[in-house]
């Protein structure tokens, strides 16, 4: 590890999200960054500045695509127009693997633009897994699904979230984008042990890890990606790395975005956890 068939047998290190406020710094200073994660939907367009900028980034950096609206968990079929545009972008970026969320967000052609939580049922697992397989066959690139933060649970659920994740990835034979911050947020919102979740994840399927900050309110925690990573999340990350092995890791920072150097420095804190098992001879 970390190279496996779910991340295209790559050995990517620590990356950050490509965000517009950092463009000037990136093009001016040309900082050394192992890889950038892009939001696929921002570039699923016909032309203009966003694609021209992406092409300049691709000349110098490795890019991995992360989607927000494939909605593998929506009961309706995959959107063919969406897939066609996604495939065109995959060819452009040559992303070695592609990620999107284990969630739903559309029904009958209407879109919420949110990452809505799944009911953890066997029917939902089968539908979701089938759509992941269909997307992978069409896009011809490994797919990893990301566990989301959630604020609601449903009466109809038949299993825990981690059991559902395992059901989906086994049935789809796909990878996992393990978001340790999302596990922490959901564990606080739903009163479960985040380590029990982490210990149940099939490590051999983890293609990538996400870390991020969040906001704490009186009655719940919101996944806002607008703060540094807190210590309990770093501890979860440490545990994940010890279990799974060094894995491509990305820091998400999407709101109240500080300078490039600040975001990159926060991401690079992951290095000490990645190097710890090797230093200990594990």
């Amino acid at each position: 590890m970390p190279a496996n068939r779910f991340n295209g047998f790559t050995d990517y290190g620590i990356g950050i999200g490509l965000r517009i406020p950092h463009y000037a710094h990136i093009f001016d200073k040309k900082p050394v960054v192992d890889w950038f994660e892009i939001i696929s939907e921002n570039y699923m367009i016909d032309g203009g500045r966003p694609l021209a900028t992406l092409d300049l980034i691709l000349e110098r950096y490795r890019v991995v695509q992360h989607g927000v609206s494939t909605y593998f968990g929506s009961a309706e079929p995959l959107n063919r127009e969406h897939l066609r545009r996604l495939k065109s972008l995959v060819k452009r970026t040559k992303t070695p693997w592609l990620t999107d969320h284990l969630c739903w967000g559309s029904v009958d052609g209407t879109y919420s633009h949110d990452l809505l939580p799944m009911p953890y049922t066997f029917e939902a697992a089968e539908i979701t897994a089938r759509k992941v397989r269909e997307a992978r066959d069409f896009l011809e690139v490994p797919i990893a699904v990301e566990n989301v933060s959630s604020y609601a649970e449903f009466h109809m659920s038949e299993m825990t979230e981690w059991e559902f994740l395992n059901e989906v990835v086994e049935r789809a034979d796909c990878g996992i984008l393990l978001d340790v911050n999302n596990i922490y947020v959901s564990s606080r919102n739903h009163d479960f042990d985040p380590y029990e979740y982490l210990n149940s994840v099939p490590g051999e399927r983890v293609a990538q890890i996400h870390i991020a900050g969040h906001s704490t309110f009186t009655k719940y925690i919101l996944d806002t990606h607008d703060h540094p990573v807190i210590d309990p999340v770093w501890k979860l990350y440490d545990h994940a790395i010890r279990r799974i092995g060094p894995t491509a890791t990305l820091l998400e920072w999407d709101d109240r975005i500080p300078s490039f150097d600040e975001v990159h420095a926060e991401a690079l804190k992951a290095e000490k956890y990645i190097q710890a098992p090797a230093a200990a001879g594990l």
Binding site: E41, M44, I45, D46, G47, G48, R49, P50, L51, A52, S69, T70, S74, A75, E76, N79, E81, H82, W104, S106, V107, D108, G109, T110, Y111, S112, H113, D114, L116, P119, T121, E123, A124, I127, Y151, A152, E153, F154, H155, M156, N189, H190, D191, K219, Y220, L222
Partner: protein, 304 residues
């Protein structure tokens, strides 16, 4: 309950317009209490009721969609004022929720919706409609497709039967008000007043809009296009506007020129020099491209 039934139910609840003070709606569209609806599929915990958990998603949906329209239509905000814009946005989203995987397309149906619902713009309806059309064209011109530009070597056989296309990202529009200049002024005022209070900015926008609505009703023709990836508005004569539309429709040059000058007051002796100037401008801006093939989308519009 199947997955599809569950998702239809939750989506309906999430998208129910927020009540006053931005709390979740108290009732579903059919009058059913939202509290009872939420309790039927959402599990409460020790800190949050089913309704409160649903409210997190409902508010998140509405804030995200409203923010998107707010960012995409600064000119319409200036024309209507903040409160009327907010009312219009909520009504539009209730009638026309997103049908695209990207929020970029959220405003695609706003012009058509406003034509059917003029009461949301009141006395400024015509100006507001012009502004919506311009701002949507701006979005399309920003990231629309570009084809290979026709160069001198392609135009060597230029004659009456020669056909050329217009770059797919270009939008040709006819307005009743000079909204191109108004939008530029609105955006400049917003940039200049970045550090000032909202009140100052509102007064500035109000003044700009008042001037346009009182004195400046004039028919104009505008091409919304881009140069080096920045979007620009170029005023045109009615003849040039008609000619370019004819080219886009696939007419050969000879016929397109006749279409452009049909019923024109421009003396025939002056027409060749006008054509020469237009061609020079189109060549410089790279507007001409090979004609669209049969079945090809003429304007590179993202299908909804």
């Amino acid at each position: 309950m199947t997955l599809l039934e569950f998702q239809r139910r939750m989506m309906k609840a999430v998208m129910q317009p927020l009540a006053s003070s931005d709390r979740i709606a108290r009732k579903m569209a059919d009058g059913r209490p939202m509290r009872i609806e939420a309790a039927e599929f959402i599990t409460p915990n020790s800190r949050l009721s089913s309704l409160e958990r649903l409210e997190i998603y409902s508010r998140s949906y509405w804030y995200r969609a409203l923010d998107s329209l707010y960012d995409d239509f600064p000119g319409l905000r200036a024309v209507l004022g903040q409160q009327a814009f907010h009312r219009l946005s909520r009504a539009y989203l209730a009638d026309c929720p997103s049908q695209s995987f990207t929020l970029r397309n959220l405003g695609a149906r706003l012009a058509g919706w406003l034509q059917r619902n003029p009461q949301y713009a009141g006395k400024t309806f015509a100006l507001a409609l012009d502004m919506v059309r311009l701002e949507w064209a701006h979005i399309e011109a920003f990231d629309g497709a570009a084809e290979k530009v026709l160069g001198p070597e392609d135009l060597i056989e230029l004659g009456p039967d020669f056909r050329a296309g217009l770059q797919p990202y270009i939008r040709l529009l006819e307005f009743e008000y000079p909204v191109d200049r108004l939008l530029i002024q609105v955006n400049q005022a917003s940039e200049e007043h970045e550090e000032a209070s909202n009140t100052v900015l509102k007064q500035k926008h109000h003044g700009l809009v008042q001037r346009v609505t009182r004195f400046e009703c004039e028919r104009i023709y505008v091409a919304v296009h881009r140069v080096d990836f920045a979007v620009f508005y170029r005023r045109m004569a009615a003849e040039e506007y008609r000619l370019l539309n004819a080219l886009r429709e696939g007419q050969p040059f000879g016929r397109a020129i006749r279409t452009g000058f049909k019923d024109s007051p421009v003396p025939s002796g002056e027409q060749p020099s006008m054509l020469e100037r237009w061609f020079a401008a189109w060549a410089e801006l790279g507007w001409l491209c090979p004609p669209a093939r049969a079945g090809q989308k003429k304007q590179g519009r993202i299908s909804q």
